[in-house]
């Protein structure tokens, strides 16, 4: 495909009035994606994790918060394949419940952080006038102490959010917002740098010369071209969000205490690292696997989306 077209192809006037098949692009994308071995492995792994976590509870019906005090601190058994915790709750069920929360928070917070970061980065890079002020804003956010910021957010918004969305959804929104609002800065910096370089490219001038407005310019030309750094930020963003969520829960700023998440399971288990090492291993492995699969997925997507690499 990418090989050079012989000169004859340019002369032969093909009169095939083939209408443009718009769907072939997606086929092509998939074809490209599937060719990337790492991406495929990552995608399958991620799919397995997501499926287990979301569909698992239909097959493993134990309630993650059911306390079976006689089975405390049990190692893996037939009844509890992943063992139990200090109150006798089933770790497997808790892992799945925790995974649902962690994955949702991770992805939602990452998306939020990415959207803010990309928006700030693109705006700063594209509109010179706003550059100074937006970058100083980024500095400000980098400098803000996280904990007091979160405390203020929780204080101001927990009740209104719980009232409007119910306690769990309310907290979910709050946590996602908190993590998203405090993690967009590196993305913004990187994107801004790329946009600045992009702006100097001639096709931007060309696009302007055909009357493309600023908004169209950003949507059509800037965003697709800064996708690659955004992908990297996305990968790191998920890991960061999952870990930050655990820190928040630990500080009492996160989900209610009976609400398991991977980060929290890991944190709670560290005290038992000697008695029940498997309790640390499960969440640790789950987080690492998720991040790893997302990383490979991101690599593959980036390659698939970059037309220059396609067909290699």
């Amino acid at each position: 495909m990418a090989c050079l077209i012989p000169a004859s192809a340019m002369i032969d006037r093909s009169t095939d009035p083939a209408p443009i098949p718009p769907s072939s692009q997606w086929d092509d994308l998939w074809h490209q994606f599937a060719a990337h071995r790492g991406a495929l492995v990552g995608a399958i792994l991620f799919a397995i994790i997501v499926l287990t976590v979301f569909m698992g509870p239909y097959f493993w019906t134990l309630d993650p918060s059911y306390i079976d005090i006689r089975a405390r601190n049990a190692g893996p058994t037939f009844a509890h394949p992943f063992g139990t915790d200090q109150l006798g709750r089933d770790t497997f069920a808790r892992m799945m419940a925790g995974g649902r929360v962690s994955l949702s928070v991770g992805i939602a917070a990452m998306v939020l952080g990415l959207v803010i970061g990309a928006a700030v980065g693109v705006t700063a890079g594209y509109f010179r006038r706003l550059d100074g002020i937006l970058m100083r804003l980024t500095d400000l956010f980098l400098a803000l102490p996280l904990l007091p910021l979160l405390l203020v957010m929780v204080m101001l918004f927990r009740e209104p959010l719980s009232a409007n969305f119910g306690p769990e959804a309310g907290i979910f929104i709050l946590i996602v917002a908190a993590i998203g609002l405090t993690s967009w800065m590196p993305t913004a910096r990187i994107v801004r740098g790329d946009v600045l370089a992009l702006k100097e490219r001639e096709f931007m001038l060309a696009a302007r010369s055909i009357g493309t407005s600023n908004v169209q310019m950003i949507l059509r030309h800037i965003l697709p071209n800064v996708l690659s750094p955004i992908m990297v930020s996305a990968t790191l963003g998920i890991a960061n969000a999952i870990i930050t969520e655990s820190a928040l829960s630990f500080l009492g700023l996160g989900f209610p205490p009976d609400f398991p998440t991977w980060g929290r399971l890991l944190f709670d288990a560290t005290d038992y690292i000697q008695q029940n090492p498997e309790r640390v291993i499960w969440p640790g492995v789950a987080i690492s696997l998720t991040v790893l699969s997302v990383n490979y997925l991101g690599d593959g997507l980036r390659d698939a989306l970059d037309p220059r690499i396609r067909g290699r």
Binding site: D139, L142, A143, P145, V152, A239, I273, L292, N295
Partner: protein, 335 residues
């Protein structure tokens, strides 16, 4: 270059004032109270008296103004006094921590050594590990080494330090007894033995943090190397008959370092901010621990000053990163 730097620094001053104001208001808004650590047996009226004594009764803007004056005038004067034995700041009150009732800056200076030793060294070690890994991963892209490097750095990034730290302690302190689990900040290195002891107590925190830092930086290094390895000038260098070593480690590396050096420079403020969790796990009691205990105790002057110093470093290192960029890349000219 010089004018660029000084211009950037001059513009940093209003920025910093604004940042300090925002931080102040944020802390002001945050719930919690410096009296939260008192036992419940202390009656409310006593708590109120204590608050008054801390100056909490005064309006916010006056307290902010006071802080500004103390931080920007009294503290520097005091430093001059300490250095030259003069007496400019004699009667002026310095920024006083609510928790310890002592000058904030003294405590900060006291905490600096261990933070620099542990966090700073781990950053250096992290960078030193990350660079070769990043270089080699890129040079042999998709090789086994590269895959392994990716794997390890992703795991390093995704496993929280509170976990790796405790794991190391359980293995090396509890089971093997090789390293102490508690960092001794009072250790004075003045002999071979104390030096060895210092090394022993630094091994674990430094390696935990270094792994985390290395994971991130090696990713940047790899990406940057990949960008440069296929540039035309690399072919020119090869056409001169240079060895692969020279081509990669001189020509490519120098170009790849440009973005990475700025990334590294931008990470330095974090070193001074301390690594809160790792410091906690290994009881290093550096600046990170200071910040977190002050936040927990709602010691506003301390938190305000620490975060402001942190903001200052961020702004300064932003400028440094830009200047470095200009120094390393001759194509960039600021004026």
């Amino acid at each position: 270059m010089l004018t660029f730097t000084s211009r950037r620094l001059a513009f940093a001053i209003p920025t910093l004032l604004f940042i300090s104001f925002v931080i102040f208001m944020l802390l002001e808004l945050a719930p919690g109270d410096p009296m939260s650590q008192l036992p419940l047996t202390v009656p409310p009226d006593v708590r109120d008296r204590m608050r008054e004594a801390l100056g909490l009764g005064e309006p916010t803007h006056i307290r902010f103004g006071k802080w500004l004056w103390q931080f920007f005038v009294v503290e520097p004067l005091h430093m001059i006094d300490a250095a030259f034995g003069t007496g400019f700041a004699a009667e002026q009150q310095r920024v006083i921590s609510w928790q310890t009732r002592s000058p904030v800056m003294d405590i900060v200076l006291q905490r600096l050594p261990q933070t620099l030793w542990v966090v700073g060294l781990s950053y250096v070690v992290g960078v030193l590990i990350a660079l070769p890994i990043g270089i080699y991963s890129a040079y042999r892209q998709y090789s086994l080494f590269d895959q392994l490097g990716t794997f390890i750095s992703m795991v390093g990034f995704s496993v929280p330090t509170f976990f790796t730290g405790i794991l190391l302690i359980v293995i090396f302190s509890v089971k093997l007894g090789w390293f102490p689990s508690i960092y001794d900040t009072t250790l004075v290195v003045n002999s071979w033995d104390s030096f060895v002891q210092q090394l022993r107590q630094m091994v674990m925190p430094v390696s935990v943090l270094a792994l985390y830092n290395a994971a991130q930086i090696s990713r940047f290094m790899r990406a940057s190397m990949l960008d440069n390895l296929h540039q035309d000038y690399v072919r020119t260098a090869r056409a001169k008959g240079l060895t692969e070593r020279t081509v990669v480690l001189v020509h490519v590396l120098r170009n790849s370092m440009i973005p990475v050096v700025t990334v590294i420079a931008l990470g330095v403020p974090q070193v001074f901010g301390g690594a809160i969790i790792t410091e906690q796990v290994f009881k290093v009691n550096g600046l990170g621990q200071l910040l977190i205990t002050s936040i927990q105790a709602n010691d506003l002057p301390m938190v305000q000053t620490l975060t402001f110093i942190f903001a200052l470093l961020i702004v300064v290192f932003n400028v440094i990163a830009d200047v470095l960029y200009g120094l390393l890349d001759p194509r960039i000219r600021y004026d």
